[in-house]
């Protein structure tokens, strides 16, 4: 860079022209943004890493089971049947609990109605 008298004056003039910052917390706000960005990137990386590990382990297991002549479709059908049975049982239990709860609610309502009627009759006497 040349350094004539004109250059020196131009540099001096332009140095005076540097605008002043408005926000005194600029660095803090910016670094918070950078840290948030870094965390976001770490999370995305972790998700990618764990997904890769999960898929790889699954693939290895499938290959091993295939080598051991274990048919995954048979197991899954059996497992599905067991799950279906458990599900049915749970549904029946749930239905029973629901009916029982409604009946209990009805009984409580009837009892409270009768008792309040008796109380008002005895007061009128």
């Amino acid at each position: 860079m040349e350094n004539t008298k004109e250059d020196q004056l131009a540099r001096e003039v332009l140095n005076e022209s540097i605008p002043e910052w408005i926000n005194p917390d600029f660095n803090k706000i910016l670094m918070d943004k950078i840290r948030a960005e870094s965390r976001k990137r770490d999370i995305i990386r972790s998700i990618g890493l764990y997904s890769t590990i999960f898929v790889t382990i699954d693939a290895i297991l499938l290959v091993l089971l295939n080598l051991m002549h274990v048919r995954i479709t048979d197991i899954s059908t059996k497992f599905q049947a067991v799950l279906g049975g458990v599900g049915e049982l749970l549904a029946n239990t749930g239905q029973f609990i629901l009916i029982y709860f409604i009946a209990l609610l009805a009984v409580i309502l009837v009892i409270s109605k009768i008792s309040s009627t008796n109380y008002s009759l005895s007061r009128n006497k």
Partner: protein, 187 residues
Amino acid sequence: MDNLYIQKVLNGDCNAFSYFVNEYRDMAFAVAFRIVNSREDAEEIVQDSFVKAFRSLGKFRQDSKFSTWFYRIVINNSLTKVQRLKTRPDNIDLKKAECIAVDEIESVYSKLSRSDRRKHIEDALNELNMEDSLILTLYYLNENTLEEIAEMTGIKKENLKMKIHRTRQKMFYLLEKKLKSEIKDLL
């Protein structure tokens, strides 16, 4: 030094990025301000540019200086804000501008208070077109080389030297006009 901190950031130490913020924020602000001419917008642009630089630091090939690469981001972001680099004619008589006596400006300039000097400089720079004031800022304030300015602005390096000379004279011409009126007021 830049390369050391780039490695630190790339190795996962995001706090190391504060080195770049402390080192380049003022110049980035001056560059953005020259284009958008608003301090609020310039601050926003500098912030966005740092975040963008952090995101794409892995893609930075290090075949140029970090500052050149980063100011390029700042200039691009600023241009997106103003749509394009306005190169309106500035109606400055180049022949008159070439005959400016620097000594005269210097003597008047030194007699003014800092705030007055600042005001006149600001007015003079605002009268220059955006591209000219940006080039002056990059060359004199940032002390970038012609190659770096060419890379940042996309202006041919061969044209830059002459352009800087002309723009500097234009700035002196405008400054002289402002300072003369100031002296008349004082008298």
